[in-house]
């Protein structure tokens, strides 16, 4: 039980890694190659084995202060030095600084006769000498299988290779052994059998005239690793592997908003525009104003004092600028201030991976806060839907990781609400999806805009008419008529109709008001008359009361007078009234 626990603990800690320093490879292998062990890099001719191995020692020497030994069995040191100079690797300099030792092991079969038993101690001696001369921590044997074509006793060779790898392990040097791909096996002579810790397979494919290099970690004992085929490119900086999923989904999220550059659109997006770092897709058919919208966004970004990088894959920057100037968007000053940068290239100029790498380099160099890709779908001409999707996923992952707002344009065909396959492919990655479409009505084509989705905000569900005026883009309220959405002249007509109808209604109201007023006045008069009547009645009642009292007091006086006259009562004593 305790043994099991120990084992899990060890596997959690993982084996020690030796970073290759090759862009992307360390992410896939989660830290690099197994330290102190041999790793096999194999693949067909021209797949980049030698370069990968060489970059491993060069980066080791320059980045990690780990000197290296490069033993070549195929190219002389001079050839190799010349070949990689274009990649900025100065091997002569590294040799001078004692950070690199090179040895060219050459076997000329015609010179060699084999008689009896032998071993490869000579190779060991040379390797040992090279390792000690620079205190190497890294070793490359490129391509050790050349021994098989130089020497015929394979039994000896195999035994000696086994001994060699063991010896390298004992010395604790991290080794790359390269091997040529064989028929149905990873290497022509099956040396993967001896190098069991880590196997990396390289591949170079041509599909539809475009070449793609791919890398796969076929095996990595004692470590988790990415298992996919990862595209990689070789350019003037060496090898870059482009991990598809290494970004993961743990990118920081911002609640800050950035303006879309169109006031009406900002309002539709919950009042304040896109989220910073969001992925925005603008889909639309040809001529629906996608580029204008993009330029509007670019201008808004620059106006906020931030950088915007514009990848133009279909139009030249000059043409885009000229065109949007006609709608009152002048991008020239922003280019002069270096807040806006265009990068234009034909999609077919490179393969997808190369595009991605170039994009990556441009982003790295310019550090924009917003990136526009116009149009992202043009990549379809370079690769299949799946490849394009994976490229866009990687691009968006990268942008998300860096908190860069991505504004992608997608050209669709057909003019209805059915969305394109290309859009569906990436729609799940999109945070805000804006749809531009034509509405044909009354002999006119007008543009309309609506928000298909916008994550995390209360966005408008309305279809708005989208007008390109001389002062930029304007979103107008759309009129809904009996036949649907009204745009353009139909909208204007509807507006007029509504104005007329409004006027009629107002007349009605005025008349009704007059009538009512008259009625009110009549009623008021009536009520005045009634009030007068009431007053008259009140007077009458008062008069009656007075008269009654007068009557009563008169009656009293009469009775007194009578009593006095009857001598029943004395005239003065009025208080002691007594009945007769």
């Amino acid at each position: 039980m305790s043994k099991v626990n120990k084992k899990t603990a060890a596997s959690q800690r993982g084996i020690e890694k030796c970073p290759t320093g090759i862009a992307g490879l360390d992410e896939i292998t989660q830290g690099g190659l197994p330290r102190g062990r041999p790793a096999l890099v194999c693949g067909g001719a021209g797949c980049g084995k030698t370069l990968l191995a060489l970059e491993f020692v060069v980066r080791g020497a320059t980045k990690f202060n780990e000197p290296g030994v490069f033993v070549s069995f195929e190219e002389s040191s001079e050839e190799l030095t010349d070949n990689v100079r274009s990649l900025g690797f100065d091997l002569d300099e590294l040799v001078r600084r004692k950070q690199l030792a090179m040895d060219f092991v050459h076997i000329e079969r015609s010179e060699i006769e084999e008689t009896g038993d032998y071993d490869l101690s000579g190779l060991f001696v040379r390797l040992n000498l090279a390792i000690e001369s620079v205190h190497a921590r890294r070793v490359v044997l490129d391509t050790i299988e050349a021994l098989f074509s130089g020497l015929s006793n394979t039994a000896i060779l195999r035994a000696e290779l086994r001994r060699l790898f063991r010896w390298l392990k004992e010395r604790g040097v991290t080794t790359i052994i390269t091997g040529e791909k064989g028929e149905g096996t990873l290497t022509r002579h099956g040396i993967e059998e001896y190098v069991s810790d880590c196997v990396i397979v390289l591949d170079h494919r041509i599909q539809e005239q475009l070449s793609t290099r791919r890398l796969r970690v076929a095996k990595y004992r004692g470590s988790a690793h990415g298992t996919n085929e990862y595209p990689f490119i070789i350019d003037e900086r060496g090898i870059s592997v482009l991990p598809i999923t290494s970004a993961g989904l743990n990118h920081p999220v911002s609640t800050a908003r950035v303006s879309s550059g169109v006031e009406g659109l900002d309002t539709m997006l919950g009042g304040s525009g896109f989220y910073r770092g969001a992925s925005i897709l603008v889909s639309g058919t040809a001529g629906t104003g996608k580029t204008s919208l993009a330029c509007s966004f670019a201008r808004a970004t620059c106006q906020a004092g931030e950088r915007c990088l514009y990848f133009a894959f279909e139009e030249s920057p000059a043409q885009i600028m000229r065109n949007v100037r006609s709608i009152g968007i002048d991008l020239e000053p922003w280019i002069k201030k270096d807040l806006l940068r265009f990068f234009a290239a034909r999609p077919t100029l490179y393969g997808l991976e190369r595009h991605l790498a170039v994009t990556h380099q441009q982003i790295e160099a310019f550090k924009p806060s917003a990136v526009i890709v116009d149009p992202a779908t043009s990549m379809m001409s370079v690769g299949g839907a799946h490849a394009v999707r994976s490229m866009l996923v990687r691009l968006m992952d990268e942008l998300k990781m860096r908190g860069i707002t991505a504004f992608l344009i997608s050209l669709t065909h057909g003019n209805d609400t059915s969305v394109e396959q290309s859009d569906v492919e990436i729609s799940s990655l999109i945070d805000t999806w804006i749809f531009l479409r034509d509405i044909e009505l009354g002999g006119e084509r007008n543009r309309a805009l609506y928000i298909l989705k916008s994550r995390g905000m209360a966005h408008s569900n309305q279809i708005r008419e989208f007008v390109l005026g001389s002062q930029g883009i304007d979103l107008l309220d759309v009129y809904l008529g009996p036949s649907g959405v009204l745009t353009g002249s139909a909208r204007v007509a509807q507006e007029a109709r509504e104005r007329a109808a409004g006027a009629t209604r107002q007349d009605d109201l005025r008349r009704q008001r007059t009538e009512l007023l008259a009625r009110r006045r009549a009623l008021e008069a009536e009520s005045e008359a009634l009030r007068a009547q009431i007053q008259a009645q009140d007077h009458a009642i008062e008069r009656l009361a007075v008269e009654t009292q007068a009557e009563e007091s008169r009656g009293e006086a009469d009775r007194s007078a009578m009593a006095i006259s009857r001598k029943v009562q004395r005239p003065v004593d009025r208080g002691s009234r007594k009945g007769p």
Binding site: E108, G116, D117, G122, V125
Partner: protein
């Protein structure tokens, strides 16, 4: 590398003189310590030279454990390796030299081997 590139010319110059001195054969045996294979190779070689090249050869024995830097110059991989430096062209015979017949062929000491060499050049 520059050292070995410079060698053939000087070697050629020396070879003319050497032929006159009737020491036309310049042999080098590379070993790495006193292993069984090395000892066997040396014994086999000495016997063979005494039989076929008596008085016309010079034999150098190089132990790479002592002089590892010499392995590069003659492109030594396998041990033991016998290098025929003279006469030209350079020949290498690897192994313990136990197969005398093959060693003699390898050193061009067998009749017919010269023609075979010419054929292979063509």
């Amino acid at each position: 590398m520059s050292r070995s590139a410079g060698n053939p010319r000087s070697r050629k110059a020396r070879s003319a003189a050497a032929e006159e001195l009737s020491a036309a054969w310049n042999l080098r045996l590379y070993v790495a310590g006193r292993t069984a294979k090395s000892v066997a190779a040396l014994q086999n070689l000495t016997r063979l030279c005494e039989e076929h090249l008596k008085g016309k050869y010079r034999l150098e024995i190089i132990d790479l454990l002592e002089q590892p830097q010499l392995a590069k110059g003659d492109q030594i991989l396998a041990i033991p390796t016998l290098v025929r430096r003279l006469p030209q062209p350079i020949k290498k015979i690897i192994g313990d030299l136990s197969d005398t017949e093959r060693v003699l062929v390898g050193l061009d000491l067998r009749p017919g081997s010269a023609e075979r060499r010419l054929a292979s050049r063509r």
